[in-house]
């Protein structure tokens, strides 16, 4: 399923109108600062992972996703996760009545020092495996049409297109499963596509490189 977030190749999105680099502030309003920090701080409670967080932002009306400003989508996602994980109720958010929600466990909100450590340590996505990758460098691969109604990281514009594996990136946490709270590793590849294969109008002077997990790919001969 293609949501409002899957924007690669969408037409008629208008000009970019970038703000000059030297004049652009990191945040454009105080509420943006707070939404950003609330999202990171609550993420440290360990109740959801990065793919659940991305999926929560994506699960909304496609038009609303595009019309909302960036941090509005973060706010939508955050409120959704807080309710779904039982940390706050819909009543507490003041949205609608009649939905249960409770904090049943005691969670430890990190202090500034712990938060800094978490941020500077990061969270890598490599998962150990004894399996061997199915594809090697130089292999032609066909990107499968995505069947999932859930979260996925295979852009629509690459589906059904043949590319070439140019790097094996190791076994990484698989987003489609991770968004469901299932932590499993799948091999990740860097796949190169000719612009001319992706877009009718594109010249061969363009190449697009996409990181794709093994379940997204079929062999396409050499």
């Amino acid at each position: 399923m293609k949501g409002g977030h899957d924007l690669g190749g969408q037409l008629e999105m208008g000009p970019i109108n970038p703000e000059p680099e030297s004049q652009e502030p990191v945040f454009h309003a105080d509420w943006e600062r707070r939404v950003f920090a609330l999202t990171l701080a609550t993420g440290m409670l360990g109740k959801w992972n990065i793919d659940e967080s991305r999926h929560a932002r994506e699960r909304q009306d496609p038009l609303a996703y595009v019309q909302n400003s960036y941090y509005e989508n973060w706010l939508e996602g955050l409120e959704k996760l807080l309710v779904e994980k039982g940390l706050v109720s819909i009543e507490e958010l003041g949205l609608t009545a009649n939905t249960p929600g409770q904090t049943t466990e005691s969670l430890m909100a990190p202090n500034p020092q712990i938060a800094q450590e978490i941020l500077s340590f990061g969270a890598h996505s490599i998962i150990k495996t004894d399996n061997e990758p199915l594809f090697g460098n130089g292999d032609s691969v066909l990107v499968r049409a995505s069947q999932t109604a859930g979260h996925t990281r295979v852009p629509k514009y690459a589906q059904g297109v043949i590319g070439t594996v140019v790097a094996k990136l190791g076994c990484h946490s698989f987003p489609d499963s991770n968004a469901l709270g299932v932590h499993e590793g799948k091999f990740l590849y860097r796949v190169a596509f000719s612009g001319a294969d992706l877009w009718d109008h594109s010249s061969t002077q363009t190449e697009v490189l996409i990181d794709l997990w093994e379940p997204y790919l079929d062999g396409a001969g050499n």
């Binding site: 990191v26 920090a37 701080a41 990061g122």
Partner: protein
């Protein structure tokens, strides 16, 4: 809830109900002990004032002046960048892609806003906007033109769509006429936009532009 935002602007006047909604949420989460105000402030301080594109400029200028560092950077960017003290969230799997005379690199995240925070800080509004995310992959030459960047017609553009946890930093070409420049001075030429790939590094004549 109706919104009167234009889709390509991240910074239109927020309706007051949005401000109130965020304030109410913060109060609720503090009251429930799920977040601490001082932690929120520390997170904002970190990404508003400490982690930003000056980190990336340091990396690039060092790569321009220190061939050993550049080699290490191309081989394992995460490790090389960590040796300068830049590591952490959204920089766990870093890769540096080098511009050459015939290849230009451009970074995008068509699915959300993936960006190498450890070296560039938080992404600019345009990077997260629908127009950039849609067209960077389908019409990169036109996108570059919008940033005033005109490439040789023969050069290949490589667009990196950040769909995984790999994060990409462009190593722009060192500008001509900077042969005797120090690493410190060269840093002034490394714009954030040149490390995303929408622009080239500043020329010596444009040196002061970052301070305006």
């Amino acid at each position: 809830m109706p919104h009167d935002h234009h889709h390509n602007h991240e910074h239109t006047e927020p309706p007051s109900d949005l401000e109130l909604r965020v304030k109410a949420l913060e109060s609720l989460l503090v009251e429930k002990g799920l977040v601490k105000t001082e932690t929120l402030n520390a997170i904002i301080e970190t990404y508003e004032h400490k982690v930003g594109p000056r980190n990336g400029a340091h990396v690039v200028a060092k790569a321009w002046t220190d061939p050993g560092f550049k080699q290490a950077l191309i081989k394992d960017a995460t490790e090389a960048v960590a040796s300068l003290g830049y590591c952490g969230r959204q920089g766990e799997h870093l890769e540096v892609v080098e511009n050459t005379n015939d290849t230009h690199n451009l970074v995008v995240c068509t699915l959300c806003s993936c960006y190498p925070w450890t070296v560039l800080g938080l992404p600019p509004a345009w990077y997260k906007s629908a127009p950039y995310r849609s067209r960077a992959v389908s019409d990169p030459r036109a996108v570059l033109k919008e940033f005033g960047t005109q490439l040789d017609e023969k050069s290949v553009i490589r667009v990196w769509d950040s769909t995984s946890e790999m994060r990409y930093l462009v190593l722009p070409q060192r500008p001509q006429g900077t042969e005797n420049w120090s690493e410190q001075d060269l840093q002034q030429l490394v714009s954030r936009n040149s490390m995303i790939g929408v622009e080239l590094a500043r020329s010596p004549e444009q040196k002061g532009e970052g301070d305006k």
